[in-house]
């Protein structure tokens, strides 16, 4: 099953490599990885999407907790949560293609954020499956480049990850 694991880590050099290294070393999967500072400058938040049996996920969270730089770990999939991913797509857009791409982008509530006479750059935010669906909806032959941010997520309601 797919899980979204959020990790608060000390903003120390090497902290990220310890986490990524742990996944490689223990043969855990990383589907996406997202790292950024938080409102507290001493902390970074790392969001990892992974999949595995409950037992594997339990091991992953235990091993993450074992790392000295890791302050807190939360498996967002344990409760109600919101997840978002940013997608940037650069496509060829000439002639009739321009209308077609614009229409599909509107349907998915994306935005065209850069335009040249022959190219659109599209921004789309949503769950990973929505982004997948968008990529399936446009002509793959037109796609020049796809950039995805990896999943970010936050728990709904009272549940929160902070110190």
């Amino acid at each position: 099953m797919r899980h979204i694991i959020s990790v608060l880590v000390e903003n120390e050099p090497g902290a990220l490599s310890r986490i990524v290294g742990l996944f490689a070393q223990r043969n855990y999967n990383i589907m996406s990885l997202n790292v950024a500072p938080t409102e507290d400058e001493t902390l970074s938040r790392i969001t990892i999407t992974t999949f595995g049996s409950d037992r594997v996920i339990e091991q992953i969270t235990k091993h993450l907790n074992r790392l000295i730089d890791v302050v807190k770990v939360m498996d967002l999939a344990d409760g109600a949560h919101i997840e978002r991913e940013l997608l940037l797509v650069k496509t060829r857009a000439v002639g009739a293609q321009r209308d077609e791409i614009k229409r599909v982008t509107d349907i998915f509530r994306g935005q065209i954020i850069d335009v040249t006479p022959s190219i659109f750059t599209i921004q789309l935010v949503g769950t990973s499956s929505k982004l997948d669906a968008f990529l399936e909806a446009i002509d793959p032959l037109l796609v020049m480049e796809v950039v995805r941010s990896g999943v970010s997520g936050i728990a709904r309601g009272e549940r929160h990850l902070s110190i």
């Binding site: 880590v9 000390e10 050099p13 090497g14 490599s17 310890r18 290294g21 070393q25 037992r55 339990e58 091991q59 235990k62 091993h63 907790n65 074992r66 000295i68 730089d69 890791v70 302050v71 110190i163």
Partner: protein
């Protein structure tokens, strides 16, 4: 406040931490530190002959004494040579501080001379690591490093020290922090009361219990509690390779070691148990045999300080996360106060079964070797060692058949007497570990049981022993082949001996050790073994190397059969369960 350079602060911080010995090897990046060592007299630096040996010596020092071993190596090859020893300590949860020099910070990343990314290379085999950015951080980093290395599940900590941070030109006010607080590191040491209560209930209700005690009992200094618990309940105890000595081997409740080369009675008891009380053990693959067939009827109560160890291999029915000593102490109180007592009738029946198994194939009553042949058997050498040292030596071993023979036939009654690379299986560990142990116990008998293969992996340390007058006794079970590999090639590859023979290239070990200034004794016959071994141990102040020719065809038994359950074993070359 006193102003000190980074190098001097490092030495002062180590002194304040109570360090007495550093096992090391100098080089360019650590010159400032070596100068600081020279200008102080509280800590003795021991010049090893290889950085791997330095780490093993620090490891042996730690295992035998409980005091944290400290290693100092230079950057580049000094650091990479230390890796095997760090990994050895990590796998066996041995605390250790490794100070590695690094090129000056402004050179880092430029592929400078003797530069290597020590933090990166050591990352998967350390509990934690630090890079010193400024000299004035050193006291705090040392404090944190010792705290992390010794608390929770212990392990090695690497501190990478760029040369500029120890320079004599820059001085800082020195003070050693009294406490340390790390918001991201608070190992849970106290067992959860509810879990402890459940564990006690299950323990008291058991009809065929086995206490399965590992190295965590020794690390947690909980051997007395374990012995008391076993005695109070009257339950049998089996030890892992790492747990030998946590419960006295000569105690009648002790079934000996379990696992791949464990005793028949221990492995069979595990298989038939209705309750496994695992304490400070980790269900290693060298214990469980095939996991799906492991102890089919048992409820598993698992006490360990590391939550990640619990239910990693075998699902625990009642997990208790906590320091073994704390948990056992609390359980003892409850066991004593409990109204229910162990079912004496069931227990008597269980013991009569256990004793029957012990009578059948027990190593002490029915040794797994014959002494009617011409050749000396490795097992009888270990038994003789046990007799001559009166079971009271510190025994380090390397890895292979001799290690298993030592584990099977030297009966450890005390913790911290048995030093071996249980998890990583590092050949070359034994001799330097014995050196480290001798530094911690100057007057004790310290022995290295080894083979002609393993000993050659760190044999250069004979020179170290001459320099520091380290009188360890090396018992080399020489079977002229890499015996454990040979055993597997015999059993699984129809005796095709690939890469295990020396083709008459072995050195004359007696001459070799004599060249280093030590004493060598060659033994080839059964009749001379005892006399020569007594001669060896009578030379209190000398390193003695006993090169003992043993039967090259001998295998280690029992040996679990894979795939299979705990009880599936070869008990000799021709008999299996």
């Amino acid at each position: 406040m006193e102003l000190l350079s980074g190098g001097d602060m490092l030495m002062r911080a180590l002194q304040d931490e109570g360090v007495e010995h550093i096992f090391g090897y100098p080089g360019g990046s650590v010159l400032h530190i070596y100068d600081a060592i020279f200008r102080q007299d509280k800590i003795q630096h021991i010049l090893m002959r290889h950085e791997q040996a330095a780490t093993h010596a620090a490891d042996g020092y730690t295992r035998s004494s409980g005091k944290v071993g400290v290693v100092l190596v230079t950057s580049g090859p000094g650091a990479t040579n230390a890796i095997t020893g760090i990994a050895t300590a990590y796998t066996d949860s041995i605390p250790m501080i490794v100070l590695s020099g690094q090129v000056p910070a402004e050179r880092v990343g430029e592929d400078a001379f003797q530069e290597t990314d020590m933090i990166g290379i050591s990352r998967p085999i350390v509990k934690h690591s630090f890079i010193v950015k400024r000299g004035d951080e050193i006291p705090e980093i040392i404090k944190k490093a010792f705290h992390i290395a010794t608390t929770g599940r212990p392990g090695p900590v690497v501190i990478d020290i760029p040369k500029n941070t120890t320079a004599p030109t820059e001085r800082f006010p020195y003070s050693y922090p009294e406490t340390v607080s790390l918001r991201s590191y608070n190992p849970s040491v106290k067992g959860h009361p509810k879990q402890i209560k459940k564990a006690v209930e299950l323990l008291l209700a058991a009809k065929r219990p086995v206490i399965y005690a590992g190295g965590g009992v020794i690390l947690s200094d909980a051997c007395d509690e374990l012995v008391e618990m076993a005695e109070l309940l009257g339950y049998p105890v089996t030890n892992t390779l790492m747990g030998l000595g946590s419960h006295p081997a000569t105690n009648k409740q002790n079934l000996g070691m379990l696992g791949m080369h464990g005793t028949f009675e221990a492995n069979t008891a595990m298989h038939h148990a209705d309750l496994i009380f695992a304490v400070g053990a980790r269900f290693d693959d060298r214990v469980t045999n095939t996991v799906s067939k492991f102890c089919p009827n048992a409820t598993i109560v698992h006490v360990d300080i590391d939550p990640a160890t619990i239910s990693k291999i075998v699902e625990a029915h009642v997990p208790v996360v906590g320091d073994v000593k704390d948990v056992l102490t609390k359980m003892l109180v409850q066991v004593k106060a409990a109204e229910t007592k162990p079912d004496q009738e069931a227990l008597a029946e269980w013991w009569s079964q256990l004793n029957e198994w012990r009578e059948r194939y027990g190593l002490q009553v029915a040794p797994r070797y014959k002494t009617d042949g011409e050749k000396l058997m490795p097992q009888e050498v270990v038994s003789m060692l046990y007799k001559v040292t009166e079971g009271d030596a510190y025994v380090a071993s390397d890895v292979g058949q001799h290690q298993m023979f030592a584990a099977q036939y030297y009966l450890f009654d005390k913790p911290r007497r048995w030093l071996n690379s249980g998890g990583l299986g590092t050949m070359g560990y034994g001799f330097p570990a014995a050196i480290g142990a001798q530094f911690a116990h100057r007057d004790a008998n310290v022995v290295c049981v080894t083979g002609e293969g393993s000993i050659q992996m760190c044999i250069q340390e004979l020179s170290t022993c001459m320099q520091y007058n380290i009188p360890v006794k090396i018992i080399c079970l020489n079977n002229s082949a890499l015996g454990m590999v040979k055993q597997w090639q015999d059993m699984h590859y129809e005796g095709r001996y690939s890469g295990i023979l020396y083709e008459d290239s072995l050195p004359d070990f007696v001459k070799l050790v004599e060249a280093y200034g030590h004493v060598g004794i060659k033994v080839t016959k059964r009749e001379e073994l005892e006399e020569k071994m007594r001669e060896c141990f009578a030379l209190k102040d000398r390193l003695v190397f006993m090169d003992i020719e043993v039967d090259p065809s001998e295998h280690v038994y029992p040996m679990q059969i894979a795939p299979g359950a705990m009880r599936d074993m070869w008990v000799s070359k021709t008999e299996r369960t």
